[in-house]
């Protein structure tokens, strides 16, 4: 690493917590804060119950992946898809995929899981739902097989913790987050390594456009993507191995990020756990709103994926920044807060801890608006104050980047300054060529210089920056919190699913009985069993 920042955050690396004495004060009414959280819980709870009553094809496929089933046929259709479809066709998935699968294995229909999947693909296996002692034995066998995957996830988490102990975390907060996206994993690797050497603490490999709507996870190393690289297990493995090398070289653990979103959210989360990814984009409502994925499908999938992330020690990143690209960043500021509170509730319900909540927000206020910077400060500080122990993810301007790269560079500087002043946890580095071209090597270098300069020059400002009592910033923060409570009250009255159906978030109407992936949602039957969920919820590994 060629640069070292003077600011030290003694002993609080994981939490992202600014020491209490220096934390800027917003003086929010603790009663209002408590009310907001309690409303979020009330709004979220029925959705969690709904998620608990259902499973999806992707949850079932993820479970098979934990049991070690991987690979695809000559047409690149994954074996997990074949097996889940075969079971669904014969006995349904209402009792889970694992019971009929391990029953078939116990009956000697095939010598192992892969062979079973291959035979099932050619329709030469007959599945059944066992009963009595056979049911118990099938379930036990399934649990033992799935537990091996859970143990791999545990081992990878331990490996990360060991590497962080040995190599260390970044010396500064926020961590510097950079995006790589060439479409070809072999091109991504040298770019990611170069970015890490230039100072990036977190590398995100952005996915190919359209992957979120594929109902299968592509297999193997991929070399062609549209505006991004496909998320595959092999791509994950290669990139993590390369960054492990670079981490040793630069003397700090460089984190890797991908996207657990879209129709295969549970499977991608599982692959991330198995291949030691460190952060995953995982928003509770993004797929519904921006990809028109069925709301029930999304909530079921995100609960399972968050349970995996919790177990794997993965930090999730939520996508509140997206609301501000469609709605006005001032008028809709409270929708960000509401979504953060809902994301927090769903995350904690799934077992994630505060240090794993990279709740998102963004610098998207129109710079031509008077006091735009003060408003940004108020909003960022509100998020910081509401979630003091979460490593908030601070996202750069995109909507008001015009192609005037010089002005864009200045905006990015102000964005960095808000990040430094308000003690954000993860800072996505803004590019002055946003919305112009795929960043040049030099754009990335200039962007990192910008972030470095601001963090070095002003990183300590969290210590001095105390907005005055009842001043502009405190007042604005309270106003946004107040609007958030009002919106949450409405959501609780209408029900969250109806609120989504009515276009409350990001102006999109998404009814619960519509959207992509609905055909992959199933109501669980009485005898439903999923050993992965059991192991995750019990916190056990055998």
């Amino acid at each position: 690493m060629t640069w070292v920042l003077s600011r030290t955050t003694s002993g609080s690396r994981y939490s992202g917590r600014v020491p209490t004495t220096t934390r800027p004060r917003l003086e929010l009414d603790p009663l209002v804060v408590r009310r907001a959280r309690s409303l979020a819980r009330q709004a979220g709870r029925p959705v969690v119950r709904l998620a608990q009553r259902h499973t999806t094809v992707s949850v079932e496929r993820a479970t098979l992946r934990l049991a070690g089933l991987s690979g695809a046929d000559h047409e690149r259709v994954p074996w997990v898809n074949h097996l889940v479809e075969a079971v669904r066709g014969q006995v349904g998935l209402e009792c889970g995929v694992t019971t009929p699968v391990w029953d078939a294995l116990r009956r000697g229909e095939a010598e192992d899981l892969l062979t079973l999947a291959q035979k099932a693909a050619s329709d030469s296996i007959s599945f059944r739902l066992p009963t009595g002692p056979e049911l118990t034995r099938s379930r036990r066998a399934a649990r033992a097989a799935v537990a091996t995957g859970i143990r791999t996830v545990d081992r990878q988490r331990a490996a990360r913790e060991r590497l962080v102990r040995r190599l260390g975390d970044p010396k500064q907060r926020p961590w510097i987050y950079l995006i790589v996206a060439t479409g070809d994993i072999d091109e991504d690797i040298p770019q990611a390594q170069a970015a890490a050497r230039e100072g990036a603490d977190v590398i995100a490999v952005i996915r190919s456009t359209g992957q979120s709507l594929l109902d299968y996870v592509p297999e193997g190393a991929t070399h062609e993507g549209y505006a991004g690289t496909y998320a595959t297990q092999e791509n994950f493995r290669r990139m993590r191995a390369a960054l492990d090398e670079t981490s040793k070289e630069v003397g700090r653990y460089v984190r890797l990020t991908n996207y657990a979103s879209g129709l295969c959210m549970p499977e991608i989360a599982t692959l991330a756990g198995l291949e030691r990814l460190d952060m995953m984009l995982n928003d509770s409502m993004y797929g519904i709103l921006f990809r028109d994925i069925n709301p029930v499908r999304t909530f079921v999938d995100q609960r399972f994926s968050r349970q995996i992330h919790a177990r794997a020690g993965i930090i999730i990143n939520t996508g509140e920044d997206n609301y501000l690209t469609t709605a006005d960043a001032v008028d809709a500021a409270h929708t960000v807060t509401v979504s953060q509170l809902l994301n927090e509730y769903f995350a904690k319900e799934a077992g994630l801890q505060d240090w794993q909540l990279g709740l998102g927000h963004a610098f998207e206020i129109n710079p031509d608006l008077p006091d735009s910077f003060r408003l940004e400060l108020a909003h960022a500080l509100l998020a910081r104050t509401l979630f003091p122990d979460a490593p908030l993810k601070w996202m750069p301007p995109t909507k008001h980047m015009t192609g005037d790269v010089f002005r864009g560079y200045l905006l990015d500087g102000f964005f960095n300054l808000v990040g430094a002043m308000t003690g954000q946890g993860i800072l996505l580095v803004g590019m002055m060529t946003e919305a112009v071209v795929t960043p040049f090597l030099s754009d990335r270098d200039l962007a990192l210089q910008n972030a470095r300069y601001v963090l070095t020059a002003a990183g300590g400002l969290t210590e001095d920056f105390h907005p005055p009592r009842d001043g502009f910033i405190q007042t604005r923060a309270r106003e946004v919190l107040g609007e958030s409570v009002q919106l949450l009250e409405r959501i609780v009255d209408d029900g969250l699913l109806d609120a989504i159906g009515d276009g409350t978030f990001g102006l999109m109407r998404r009814p619960a009985d519509r959207g992509k992936g609905l055909e992959g949602v199933l109501e669980k039957a009485e005898g439903y069993d999923n050993p992965a969920v059991t192991l995750l919820e019990e916190g056990r590994s055998t």
Binding site: R197, F290, D292, M401, A435, S442, D445, M508
Partner: protein, 245 residues
């Protein structure tokens, strides 16, 4: 500037000084040789004298340069031709307003990838809220009702749905070009629509994809072809121009 000035040069701080500023990266380690290479490039770009004001190493193998200098080139305004778009580019607000005023109802767009094409990238870029190149898709427009049928839609299904939804326009994306699939699919689609609708009532047929030839719309039987890099705003403006103007 008066019309008599047909020759112009860039303006730094004095008329006719020809001053420009450029920045670029060379795949060379940052040293005297790299600086010489940068100046050589500047000279070949017509900058003379060129002033290398900044050189910075980016890792061991690359150097970033900022160069100021006077270009020897003259621009002859008589040789400048402007290709006019046949319709104005509108903002989302203007699109909504035009539809509201002219149609007095929502404009209905049905979109799909037809045939075996599973690449919804194009149609999603234009239709989905997420959009493309920083522009929101047609779903974002309050006065446009979008029905996105997704991938691998059969032509008869598309026609039936377009009729059921009373589509004003049908948007079809074709990315796969193996054995000219995009051309066959497009012709089949337009033929099916012309068969199913009375003459003059066929919805506006629009196809998009990276490999269509510009100007082949008529021969394929569609109203308009959009190529690579088309943004939702351009499509929305076109729809308004054709249907609500």
């Amino acid at each position: 500037m008066s019309d008599t000035h047909t020759l112009v040069r860039p303006y730094g701080d004095t008329t006719g000084d020809g001053m420009v500023q450029v920045s670029f990266t060379l795949p060379l380690p940052c040293d005297k040789r790299a600086e010489g290479a940068a100046l050589q490039l500047a000279k070949k770009m017509g900058m003379e004298p060129a002033l290398l004001v900044h050189a910075k190493a980016m890792g061991p193998d690359y150097t970033f340069f900022v160069v100021y200098g006077s270009v020897s080139h003259l621009v002859d305004l008589r040789d400048v031709t402007v290709v006019e778009r046949r319709y104005p580019l509108l903002t989302a607000k203007e699109v909504n307003l035009a539809i509201k005023r002219t149609l007095r109802r929502k404009l209905v767009v049905v979109g799909a990838c037809i045939g075996t094409d599973a690449h919804t990238v194009g149609i999603d870029a234009i239709l989905s809220l997420k959009g493309f190149a920083g522009e929101k898709g047609l779903e974002y427009y309050r006065e446009i009702r979008v029905v996105n049928l997704g991938a691998q839609v059969l032509v008869p299904e598309l026609v039936a749905r377009a009729r059921a939804e009373r589509a004003d326009a049908v948007l079809v994306s074709q990315v796969v070009t193996q054995r000219d699939a995009h051309l066959h699919n497009t012709s089949a689609m337009s033929a099916a629509f012309r068969e199913a609708y009375p003459a003059g009532e066929v919805p506006l047929l629009v196809v998009g994809g990276p490999r269509f030839e510009e100007g082949s719309a008529a021969s394929l039987g569609v109203d308009r072809i959009f190529g690579r890099g088309t943004t939702p705003g351009e499509v929305a403006s076109y729809l308004v121009h054709e249907l609500a103007a």
